[in-house]
């Protein structure tokens, strides 16, 4: 039995994330949209907490709500004429339909499949604490290769981004 | 020996490819020499062929794609029996003739002869292949030279016609490939002899479907109504030599395929659909002949007459008896020589008059008696005059089919009457009549290569017409096993 706090937190945070995401969809102002998306990210971070993923929650806030959102704001600012507009294109109906379809599909799979889950004491045992150590160990141990690869990715993205936007020397 | 036949033209291709530009005209000599050598090889094979022995002779083989453990073992096997040997001789002969009549080609000479020689190899490859995949390979290989020959050196709507030819053939052969794969699936081999020995009984798709998949490609090539409309266009717009090859040997690939592959491997289905084939054949004969009557272009006349004449091949096949099959094989050979020569004659006229419209031509006999005479003789052969080869073949076909498919046979015999109609009418319009001022400058066939080409073909026509045993003794040896599979004689 889940603690009631967790239950409340789950619904509240889910509501926050979903509501913020809906707002992103509905708002006509791009800057507002950025703010709503940050809200959604924060809601997500909260949900991570309810799943006892403390490190990820922090990362989420830092990377998404922080870094990526700042990038988005920068993007909005760098393209001033377009910045205030968050209008829909002709594909909005399609988008809504496909979105609904995916939500329904995932919901269907989520509820219809007998997922192999822990229960009772086993589930309690999964209540991680101090995931940072484990994750850090994994990143530098078994997952060193993707880790290194990710660093290359970041480097390539950096170089590429510069190459793309750099003013021509000539 | 047979591999030599396949490689000789390719050797010629290499030699021509490395010919310096300023000696471009030597390409035709090289081509002629290799084609003559290949023809000689075929004649040697013809002479050395053991007419009494069963099975394939002069077999060369090696395993080409070594993957038979996954069902993809493909062998290179060439060999001849009584069925394919005449086709090889025909290919050799017509290639020589085609090269001879092309001596006047000046546009991109080297390429022209290269493609002509590639065409010879690929067509001969079809006749020599004893493995389904190898057969299919050569079958497709022939498309490239044909496509280029028609669309570069042709006339009229050459690009449309070339593309039409190509798409028809590829479309037809597409399903043939599926059929081959399905046939080879259980046996794990594509060797024709093995499949003939033990025809597949349980296949993924019903054998009837496979039957139509495979025969479809052959019916396109033959061609048979309603799959024939590529033929008039391709013929009309092709250069003379290509028309000769197309009518002379390429169409035969269809009939040959049915005889070599469809009948021995799927005898039950052949029996099941014999009536359908006979109906198609009889209808094609009459239909082709009727349309021929209406044609205004000389080449279209010959082209549509091919539709009619190749109907006899299918008719002979549809009876599924020894006699009819013999007739079909004979008809393939004779139609090859006769129609080949007809196209040569039309080409010679076109070279001089620069038109093929019957309405524009008249009284040519005065200016070109030799061409006219040969044309008349060939016309006689085409309308089945005894003493010339066409008659023997038609007779054999009809003798084989009358009992089995009386209605279709009667229709086909009536096609002979119509044949006389369109051929003589054409001859009358083109050759007869008072001397025509417009054509007063024309000359008769006066080049040695023109004479040689005509003479060679005429010899073949008359020889087979007068003494058909030279051919039938070979052919019947190849037909006998097929007829035995189909259930004995006629």
């Amino acid at each position: 039995m889940t603690s009631i706090g967790i239950t409340i937190a789950f619904y509240a945070l889910s509501g926050l994330s979903i509501g913020a995401a809906v707002a992103v969809f509905l708002t006509r102002n791009l800057l507002h949209a950025v703010i709503f998306v940050i809200l959604a990210f924060i809601g997500m971070a909260g949900l991570f907490v309810t799943l006892s993923a403390d490190f990820l929650a922090v990362s989420q806030v830092m990377i998404y709500a922080g870094a990526i959102s700042v990038l988005l704001v920068f993007a909005v600012m760098l393209t001033p004429y377009a910045s205030r507009d968050n209008g829909n294109s002709l594909f909005a109906p399609v988008g809504v339909l496909v979105g609904l379809g995916f939500a329904a599909l995932i919901g269907f799979v989520a509820t219809q499949v007998a997922w192999p889950v822990f229960s009772g004491s086993d589930l309690e045992a999964q209540n991680f604490t101090g995931t940072v150590r484990t994750i850090g160990g994994a990143l530098l141990g078994g997952y060193a290769l993707p880790f290194e690869l990710a660093s290359v990715l970041l480097l390539a993205a950096l170089v590429g981004a510069i190459a793309l936007v750099r003013e021509d020397e000539r | 020996m047979l591999t030599t036949f396949l490689l000789l033209p390719l050797a010629g291709v290499l030699m021509i490819a490395f010919l310096p530009k300023h000696r471009e005209q030597d390409a035709r000599v090289i081509a002629l020499v290799v084609a003559l050598l290949a023809f000689a090889v075929s004649l040697v094979a013809f002479a050395m062929f053991d007419r009494t022995a069963e099975g394939y002779q002069f077999v060369d083989r090696f395993e080409w794609i070594r993957a038979s453990d996954v069902g993809f073992g493909v062998q290179y096997i060439v060999g001849v029996d009584g069925l394919s040997l005449p086709m090889i001789v025909l290919t050799g002969l017509l290639s020589v003739a085609a090269i001879l009549v092309s001596f006047g080609v000046t546009l991109r000479t080297r390429e022209y002869f290269i493609w002509l020689l590639v065409l010879e190899t690929s067509v001969a490859g079809v006749f020599l292949s004893l493995d389904l995949i190898q057969f299919f390979l050569f079958w497709e290989l022939e498309l490239v030279p044909m496509y280029l020959l028609i669309s570069i050196w042709g006339s009229g709507h050459k690009e449309y016609s070339a593309m039409k030819f190509l798409l028809y053939t590829i479309g037809g052969s597409a399903l043939m490939l599926v059929g081959f794969l399905l046939l080879g699936l259980k046996a794990g081999t594509f060797e024709i002899a093995v499949l003939t020995e033990a025809p597949p009984t349980e296949t993924l798709l019903p054998l009837a479907v496979i039957f139509w998949f495979i025969i479809g490609a052959f019916l396109v090539k033959l061609p048979v109504f309603p799959l024939h409309t590529w033929l008039p266009d391709a013929h009309t717009d092709a250069p003379t030599a290509v028309s000769v090859m197309l009518a002379g040997v390429l169409l035969k690939m269809g009939g040959y395929g049915i005889l070599r592959i469809v009948l021995p491997i799927m005898p039950q289905q052949a029996q099941q659909f014999g009536m359908v084939l006979a109906t198609l054949a009889g209808f094609s004969v009459i239909y082709g002949a009727l349309i021929t009557l209406r044609q205004r272009d000389l080449k279209r006349v010959v082209a549509y007459s091919s539709v009619s004449h190749m109907g006899y091949v299918l008719l002979g096949i549809s009876a599924l008896g020894a006699v009819g099959l013999n007739g079909a094989a004979l008809q393939m050979f004779t139609h090859g020589t006769i129609t080949g020569l007809l196209f040569i004659m039309v080409g010679l006229i076109y070279d001089r008059a620069h038109t093929r419209q019957i309405a524009d031509l008249s009284g040519l006999m005065h200016r070109m008696p030799l061409i006219g005479t040969v044309l008349v003789i060939t016309g006689f052969a085409a309308l089945g005059l005894p003493g010339l080869s066409g008659f023997v073949a038609e007779l054999t076909v009809f003798l084989g089919t009358l009992e089995v498919h009386p209605v279709a046979t009667i229709a086909a015999v009536f096609g002979v009457v119509l044949g006389a109609g369109y051929i003589l009418w054409t001859v009358q319009r083109v050759l007869a009549g008072p001397p025509n001022e417009r054509w007063a400058h024309l000359t008769d066939a006066d080049k040695w290569w023109e004479h040689t080409a005509m003479a060679g073909m005429l010899v073949a026509i008359v020889l087979v017409g007068v003494y058909p045993r030279i051919l039938t003794d070979v052919v019947s040896g190849g037909i006998a096993p097929i007829a035995a599979i189909l259930g004995g004689g006629s």
């Binding site: 990715l153 | 290989l141 280029l148 593309m163 597409a174 794969l181 699936l185």
Partner: protein
């Protein structure tokens, strides 16, 4: 991390290092470094590593089970290296639009390295990161010409790629949820137990995975970016995408579906076979029909690439219990396709750098202007059509035979769709060949490709012919490589 395991990754590490060198040299020599030479040397070194690895290297899983070095990965390593080498060699003329040559070479190397890792990876996280690394490099490469079309291509590629990555990730998440592990061997263990309760999730998962990878392979309906990006990206980049990226997509697909989902013995094998059959049929039909009316050659090759992906996917659909015939067909096809398509694209690079146009009409009379290029391009087009004696003929034959060998009637239906599509494809491929060989040129100027590019073209043509005449070596290699999947 045990550095003793480094010999699993020799080629990739060499490539990464080479990319660094290229980039560094570019920066420190003020853009005067011979970037292309350095990059080619890198590839040579990587190839040597790969040879060493194939001959003396480990053949089992390493790196804690996330990397394999086997015949399969070797096959793709060599294939990718060859493609990249060809692209780099040919890119000299095609890079006029790309100002940042150093970045170009570095990114190509990184992208290749990631794909090499991808071919070796058998763990979802590694796969994901490797895919994203190569993708991000490719997004940038597509936009690197920085003109209107290139930028547009980059943006479209990136956004579509990101969406497909999200979908792929969702599929991975489901797999993780089912198996509790990201390692393909663990997933295989789970699948081998045939958990009926998880069937729906597995199906959803592999469809999503197929979507994410289908984006790389350019299968319909994940193909829509292809024409635009092929057209807009610098031609060398398009070449790279059409051969290398597609090959990597197929490599990882095979790895996941065979090593992870158990190949033909999986309890959902029929489902995914049907799925790929569907994608293959639609891809072939769409690509070929849509290409008929194309006049921009790069766009045309884009549609052609979709159709060819469909052909290759027939091999993916050719699933049979205990058999790797389908994968070996895919490998064989990819090998020949790489030679063919790279050959064709290099011709396009040569022509567009001299003629300055990608319009089909500007290929008129190419035979008179540049006979060698015209002949090689024609040969490649024949091979793409599947006409003997080119490799493309046997590739199609092999794939279709693999499909028939499964013994399913619906696979025969797929093959029928395939062969009919061959007929359709003949129309536009050969029309192009005809325009080059037959039509009168618009301009009389003649040109020759540079010596190296000429040699490359000769090599491509010889490969196309060689594998068309003597396919057995390549077939053997492909079969050996495919056999390690199970």
């Amino acid at each position: 991390m045990n550095f003793g395991d480094a010999n699993y990754l020799g080629p990739a590490i060499t490539l990464f290092a080479g990319a660094g060198v290229v980039l560094g040299a570019d920066v420190f020599t003020d853009r005067r470094a011979p970037a292309r030479t350095l990059a080619l040397l890198t590839i040579l070194a990587a190839a040597l590593c790969a040879v060493a690895q194939a001959m003396w290297g480990p053949t089992e899983v390493g790196y804690g089970g996330i990397i394999r070095s086997d015949a399969f990965s070797s096959f793709f390593t060599f294939l990718l290296l060859a493609i990249t080498a060809a692209v780099l060699t040919a890119s000299g003329g095609g890079l006029q639009r790309v100002a940042q040559a150093g970045e170009f070479y570095a990114l190509v190397l990184v992208s290749t390295a990631s794909m090499v890792v991808l071919a070796q990876a058998q763990e979802l996280i590694t796969i994901f990161v490797a895919i994203e690394t190569t993708s991000v490099c490719q997004f940038i490469l597509a936009g690197l010409a920085r003109d209107d079309r290139s930028a547009e291509a980059g943006l479209k590629y990136l956004l579509t790629g990101a969406v497909s990555a999200a979908v792929l990730l969702y599929g991975f998440a489901f797999l993780f949820g089912l198996a509790g592990s990201t390692n393909l061997e663990d997933i295989a263990t789970v699948i081998a137990g045939a958990p009926e309760g998880g069937r729906l999730a597995i199906i959803a998962a592999f469809v999503m995975v197929a979507a994410g990878l289908g984006f790389k392979m350019a299968l319909v309906p994940f193909q829509a970016w292809v024409p635009d990006v092929y057209q807009g990206a610098p031609t060398p980049v398009t070449t790279f995408l059409s051969a290398a990226s597609k090959a990597a997509g197929f490599a990882v697909t095979l790895r996941i579906f065979y090593t992870g989902l158990g190949g033909g013995d999986s309890f959902v094998a029929t489902q995914w076979a049907m799925m790929f059959a569907l994608f293959a049929a639609v891809s072939m039909t769409f690509g070929n029909l849509a290409a008929i009316q194309q006049t921009n050659v790069k766009r045309l090759l884009g549609y052609s690439s979709i159709a060819q992906a469909g052909n290759i996917a027939v091999g993916l659909a050719a699933v049979a219990s205990g058999s790797t015939l389908g994968p070996s067909a895919v490998l064989f096809f990819l090998g020949t396709y790489a030679a063919t398509n790279v050959g064709a694209f290099i011709c396009v690079i040569v022509v567009s750098s001299r003629v300055g146009s990608d319009d089909l009409r500007d290929y008129a009379g190419l035979l008179k202007r540049s006979p060698g290029v015209a002949l090689v391009l024609s040969l490649c087009l024949l091979s793409l059509t599947g006409i003997p004696p080119t490799a493309g003929f046997l590739a199609k034959l092999y794939v279709f035979n693999a499909a028939v060998q499964t013994g399913h009637v619906w696979m025969v239906a797929l093959v029928i769709v395939g062969v009919l599509n061959t007929a359709i494809s003949a129309f536009y491929y050969l029309r192009w060949a005809r325009i080059m060989l037959l039509d009168e040129p618009r301009e009389a100027t003649t040109f020759m490709p540079s010596g190296t590019v000429g040699g490359l073209l000769t090599l491509a043509a010889l490969a196309v012919l060689f594998f068309g005449v003597n396919p057995t070596p390549l077939i053997d290699i492909a079969r050996r490589a495919a056999a390690t999947l199970l």
